[in-house]
């Protein structure tokens, strides 16, 4: 890591602009549920690229772009055409078309390899490590060509997506409504495919198709897990893309030496970095992450158990009067069905919130606040019983279990409506008083 040089900076910068431009268009593929179209197009631009090489004889970007856009649009168009005319699934149609185009491209490249310097391996994993060596003058600076091209494509993507933002959103979300409003969703669709193709081909040479596919899909998926609304999703995906580029290169030059190698493929590492970020997001995303959902569920479950304890104590007092026999915690916990660890945690929670008091010999009782909250739980329970019996018309002996579940889930709004529906009722269907 100590020998980080300007070259490494350029590699990271190049990776970043490419990753961000991929992520930006990729988001729309992900929300359209067409993630694999990104895979298909990034493979299918190969023949366009090869034909452009064969015709122009060099790597001039303009014919390259034209060829790739043509091939990308051709993939989208042919997939659609054989899907309708051949009456097959979209997936299968896409599989047939992109493999055919890629196979043609591969043959052309093998053919062209005699005259033009082209390597099929380069198509897959690129040569981002060498990209800083090939520079172009930009104003007073010498920029790596790949970086300059990547910057141009990023600008194109930002401008096009900015201009057509609401059309893209509407036609991705609800193509029929878009058509009804006169937005021509088919044109928007082909515009998106053209953007994917341009992005893929610009990135091809430097990072190879593998990074293109990874960056089209993975940041977008992370974005949907991290944010709720589309602007947030786009921003999150751009950040994930940048971090993947940085982390990827650091990994590529930092990890191999541990095992006695010099380095490894940077674009591959960037894809792996994206994968690691995805796993991270998958686990710890604030709302949709596995851990967040687990913690949320656990706290909800604890609340329900606390309420069960309060309810049970309330009923006990109701039945036996305030001066009745004492309730011992272990028996109570066992009756509610708490295991020993759970029982300890619930008891701690209840005491910390001042809901139960605790005297000698494990005897528990409700505090003033505990009584108040227990009354709410019992009230909800009995209101639900009234509602289920009178409105839903379930028999009286069938409403208890359902009310048991619903009593924990009653919002203020629901409670007000329950109260309205139960006007006049002072007892539940079993004759118990509604507090």
């Amino acid at each position: 890591m100590s020998d980080w040089s300007m070259i490494d900076t350029w590699i990271v910068l190049t990776g970043m602009v490419i990753a961000m431009s991929c992520a930006l268009v990729g988001n729309f593929l992900v929300i359209r549920r067409m993630s694999l179209m990104g895979d298909a197009i990034s493979h299918a631009v190969l023949p366009g690229l090869a034909v452009a090489f064969l015709l122009s004889g060099d790597r001039h970007p303009l014919p390259m772009f034209a060829g790739a856009v043509a091939a990308g649009l051709l993939t989208a168009f042919l997939t659609e055409w054989i899907r309708t005319n051949g009456r097959m699934e979209a997936d299968a149609a896409m599989g047939v078309i992109f493999t055919t185009l890629f196979a043609i491209g591969l043959l052309l490249i093998v053919r062209a390899a005699d005259s033009v310097d082209l390597d099929p391996g380069c198509v897959l994993y690129g040569a981002i490590e060498l990209s800083p060596l090939d520079t172009v003058p930009v104003g007073p600076w010498e920029w790596p060509r790949a970086f300059a091209i990547g910057l141009v494509v990023l600008a194109i993507n930002v401008v096009v997506i900015g201009l057509f933002y609401k059309e893209l959103v509407l036609s991705s979300f609800d193509p029929e409504a878009a058509a009804a409003l006169g937005f021509k969703p088919r044109r928007i669709y082909y515009l998106l495919m053209a953007l994917v193709a341009v992005t893929a081909v610009a990135s091809f040479e430097s990072v190879g198709s593998i990074l293109v596919i990874a960056m089209l899909i993975v940041p977008g998926v992370c974005g949907t897990l991290l944010a709720r609304r589309l602007p947030g999703v786009l921003a999150a995906s751009a950040v994930v893309a940048m971090l993947s580029a940085i982390g990827g290169h650091v990994m590529a030059i930092g990890i191999p030496p541990i095992f006695g190698f010099v380095d490894t493929s940077t674009s591959g590492s960037m894809a792996v970095a994206a994968g690691i970020l995805f796993v991270g997001v998958f686990l710890v995303a604030p709302e949709n992450g596995v851990l967040a959902r687990w913690a949320h569920q656990r706290s909800l479950r604890d609340r329900i158990r606390c309420e069960d304890v309060l309810g049970a104590l309330y009923r006990w007092h109701e039945e036996h009067g305030e001066k009745g026999p004492v309730v011992r915690w272990p028996e109570l916990a066992a009756r509610i069905g708490l295991g020993p660890t759970q029982a300890r945690r619930i008891r701690r929670l209840l005491r910390r919130n001042g809901l139960i008091g605790y005297v000698a010999d494990d005897a528990v009782h409700l505090t003033g606040e505990g009584k108040r909250q227990a009354a709410i739980v019992i009230r909800d329970h009995r209101l639900w019983e009234v509602y289920l019996h009178h409105q839903v018309q379930l028999p009286a002996d069938h409403v208890h279990a359902t009310s048991e579940a619903l009593e924990h889930l009653t919002s203020d709004g629901m409670r007000r409506r329950l109260e309205r529906d139960a006007t006049g009722a002072s007892v539940d269907p079993h004759g118990k008083v509604i507090p």
């Binding site: 993630s35 699934e89 997936d91 599989g95 196979a103 591959g268």
Partner: protein, 464 residues
Amino acid sequence: MMVEFPWDDLRRLTGLADYNTRVVLLGSLLLGLVSGAVGSFMVLRKRAMISDVVSHAALPGIVAAFMVLTVLGGDGKSWLALLTGALISGLLGMAAVHAITTHARVKQDAALGVVLSVFFGAGVVLLGFTQRMKSGSSAGLESFIYGKTASMLASDAWLLAGSALAATVICLAFFKEFRLVCFDAEFARAQGWPVRRVDALLTGLVVVVTVIGLQAVGLILMIALLITPAVTARFWTDRLGSMVIIASGLGALACVTGAALSALYPRVPAGSVIVLSCSTLFLIGLLFGRRRGLVPEAWRRIRLAARTERHHVLRAVYEQWEQRGVQGFHAHAGTGSVLVSAGDLAAVRRWSEARLQRVLREAAADGDVELDAWPLVRLTSRGMSHARQLVRNHRLWEWYLIQHAEVDPHHVDRDADEIEHVLGAAMVRELEATLPGRLSGAELPSSPHPLTDTEEAGWRKGPA
């Protein structure tokens, strides 16, 4: 590429003199067979893209197996070991897709895309290690990406053939279960079939076939060998059994072609040749397939249009005659045949003269009309009964539409035009049953609307 035709190689190949070539061709043949069969079920289960994910996800397994072997000092090219690695990481990839879609709000296609690209990236990273490894040459590993049958050894090919054969046997043994689950999984589940396990078996077969095909076709194009023959077969048949057989045949043909060309021209990537053979067969199927090909369908449409037009003319002749009564048509000396003027016919549907003449000539060729008295058209007795039947169908349908679909009598003529030509005998019987009062077999209901503007609408004779 075509600079010098390798005659010697071709002779060696066609004569199957070389043991290695023989076994490789056999292996390719079996690979094509099993890919077609497994691919058919995969496509019908609407999981076409999983093979693509499996093949990409296999790469890190292949390279990792190679590295482990090399580090242990063994032969890094042991095919069995490499394929075991591929199998493990392919299955891991599928498990990852499953975990992502069940534990996070991520759609199936996005999960497939994530696993495909990240696993492949990991494979490339590992490949980067091997290329910089001091011991062992990783050159052969690239053939897994682009496919190269020529580099296959006889022992590899035997393994390939054996696995392909085993997969084929499983495919045949569970044919019935696969058919049931692919067609109607919910019904299968209600009948007590373990649909998940059948699906897992099918996915397992896809993984195995994908992995054994990697060296021949390459991981990027492997998906084509599973999808393309299967969808091509669908153009030729409406039956699952024949679809599987045809798909197997097409797959085998493509694989053998690829392997043969790869043997002749070692520089040509075999995967590309195999896939382009598949694509060519696909194109042929798309155009000429007996069941759904575009050309046969267009031909059927043209035939139907021509038949429809002929029916319209015959009906027009009949209705002209019916409308004018006996004095209206030109009684021909001696014969009782029906003559109608061509000009009147052309007016009925605003046909051009040329178009009317063409249709009439076709009808004349079938013996429904005679044109010897042109510009008068003579309906033969055969044509008469034919026309009467057509008019009857048309009017039955018109009355049905008026009574049951509440179509306006003034529009019913054109609506009936659309459908009457495709009425089957059973349908006609049903129509007869729906009309008030029963029609005897040959009785003709009157037209529900005026045949010309001057006449009143409604039953003129009324059904008996």
